[in-house]
């Protein structure tokens, strides 16, 4: 049963904002052993999809399961407690709090106070390779380290699925390479789902890629197949 049960499954997700149909009957699922990617041009519904998955938005229709548990309809903090954790496109950390306080905050919602969380927080910081004075204010870290801190804040609660919204945004080429290595290394910690709008990162990371266009799923296949797909090429390079 466990080998067949998907990590997450979303069925017929639809969402409308006024006159804009943001998502139309989107089905998606991720196997426990794969890294799933999502790409699409601006306004294709990528962020709406993640917002619905993580409980930030309510879908008009459709359901989401996380390892067999229905999570659609739950408030966001309960979705996070159930094991689906997300990052944001723009970096979001507690800038005025220390690095350690940031990481231990990842366990506050799980009923574990800062004092009891220290060891697990150090473990999570080790895992993302953030070796720094943990009493430092998080806002003083560089961009790449802030991204790593975001990961540690989630990993400390041992999520089942980590959804990363454009994790390489704003990074330089060298940092992008390091980020790809880091995400690859995190694969044995939890399931990883990545949104990107650039092809390059996703093809080097993902086992399978979904392409959204105008709120619909255009294709869902291996990166090599997606890259050769005529409709995808037209969307990205212009017809």
């Amino acid at each position: 049963m466990t080998s067949q049960q998907p990590l997450f499954q979303a069925t017929a997700i639809s969402k409308r904002f006024g006159g804009l149909q943001a998502l139309v009957d989107v089905d998606a699922a991720q196997r426990p052993d794969e890294l799933l990617g999502l790409i699409g041009p601006n306004g294709s519904g990528k962020s709406t999809f993640v917002n619905i998955m993580s409980g930030t938005l309510k879908a008009d229709r459709g359901e989401v399961w996380l390892q067999g548990q229905v999570i659609s309809g739950m408030p966001q903090h309960e979705v996070a407690r159930a094991g689906l954790s997300r990052t944001f496109q723009a970096i979001k950390i507690f800038r005025e709090l220390s690095i350690m306080e940031n990481v231990t905050a990842g366990l506050l919602g799980h009923g574990i106070g800062p004092a009891a969380a220290l060891e697990r927080a150090r473990e999570a910081l080790d895992r993302v390779g953030l070796v720094s004075d943990t009493t430092l204010k998080a806002g003083r870290l560089g961009l790449f380290d802030q991204r790593r801190l975001e990961f540690a804040m989630r990993l400390v609660a041992r999520p089942k699925l980590l959804m990363l919204d454009e994790p390489v945004g704003g990074l330089n080429p060298e940092e992008i390479r390091a980020m790809i290595a880091l995400i690859t290394a995190l694969r044995d910690q939890c399931g990883i789902f990545i949104i990107e709008h650039t092809m390059k990162v996703i093809t080097s990371l993902a086992d399978r890629v979904m392409v959204f266009v105008n709120g619909r799923k255009l294709i869902d296949d291996k990166p090599s197949v997606v890259l050769r797909d005529r409709a995808v090429i037209e969307t990205y390079l212009g017809a």
């Binding site: 996070a80 954790s85 997300r86 709090l97 306080e101 905050a105 990842g106 506050l108 574990i112 800062p114």
Partner: protein
């Protein structure tokens, strides 16, 4: 170290009790302690949770009126009326927080102004229980062993209540709840993404802070012996907010320091009441522009 500072500031007014047979000084000492208690409660919301509760004085008033009514009309002992007043204030505070708790920053403050105004009007328009604008006079002092608590002891008792209140806030802020409130103050969207129940934690902060408002309000009624709607209007809320801001929001010592400095002002400048308003106005501007961390940030620099 910081606890020592808090203790120092808390015990400073006690010196006033040795001023000899000076009624006004002992009276001010009592008020300082009451304001320390109230400001510490307000700090729980403004300093640690990032909400400016302009309803605070109104909530204290609810407890004051309930406690005074139970003692005067129903003949209850102060000690039994006090917890009833506190709990009533906490429940009302919690209920009043529901419509506003999802608002942020400025809009939350604005909603508080409206609710505070409604409470003040309520105090005026239910004269059967509040005696309207005239207020309730001759509220008796608490009785211990058949005797009303006399002057230096009553002030010391209030000082103990302030110490317990400030100590309670300090302990709370070192717990998981405290860390959660600070995280929510810093970024509530991020908190939700990390699994933190933002609304529930804010409601808890409101309940606890309102409990402290209730305690301060009831003690005020029986210490001063007179309550009227003006004693719990929006200006009182603003004064308490100013104490927290001047002393230093988000610290345990801040509200104690703010109450210690600002409470005696109106009595020091009794002949020049306009001067008090000038000082208050200047204090607001100075703190907002030059000293967002309050006085405690210069007086007691954080040791590393």
């Amino acid at each position: 170290m910081k606890d020592l500072h808090a203790l120092l500031i808390l015990s400073f007014p006690v010196l006033g009790l040795f001023a000899g047979d000076h009624g006004l000084v002992t009276f001010i000492v009592g008020l300082v302690f009451i304001n320390m208690l109230l400001a510490s409660g307000l700090n729980l919301l403004y300093g640690f949770s990032g909400l400016i509760p302009f309803t605070f004085a109104g909530i204290a008033g609810i407890s004051a009126y309930i406690c005074a009514n139970l003692v005067i009309r129903a003949g209850w002992a102060f000690w039994f009326a006090l917890p009833i007043g506190c709990i009533a204030a906490a429940v009302v505070g919690l209920l009043l927080s529901f419509p506003a708790i999802r608002l942020r920053g400025f809009y939350f403050a604005l909603s508080g102004l409206v609710i505070q105004s409604a409470l003040t009007i309520a105090f005026v328009y239910f004269p059967a229980y509040t005696n309207g604008d005239t207020g309730i006079t001759s509220i008796p002092k608490p009785v211990v062993a058949g005797m009303p608590v006399a002057s230096p002891w009553f002030e010391l008792l209030i000082g103990a209540a302030a110490a317990i209140g400030a100590g309670g806030v300090a302990l709370l802020m070192r717990s998981r709840i405290g860390s959660t409130l600070i995280a929510i103050r810093e970024d509530e969207d991020l908190c939700r993404a990390l699994g933190i129940a933002v609304t529930a934690n804010r409601c808890l902060a409101f309940f606890l802070a309102s409990l402290m408002a209730g305690l301060g309000g009831a003690i005020y009624a029986h210490f001063v012996g007179f309550i009227s709607p003006r004693g719990f209007d929006v200006l009182v809320s603003l004064n308490l907010w100013l104490m927290v801001a001047v002393g230093g929001r988000g610290t345990v010592t801040g509200p104690l320091l703010g109450a210690l400095i600002l409470t005696p002002l109106p009595y020091v400048f009794q002949q020049y009441s306009w001067l008090k308003d000038v000082i208050y106005g200047a204090a607001i501007i100075a703190v907002v522009i030059f000293l967002p961390g309050g006085l405690q940030s210069i007086t007691f620099r954080k040791s590393a």
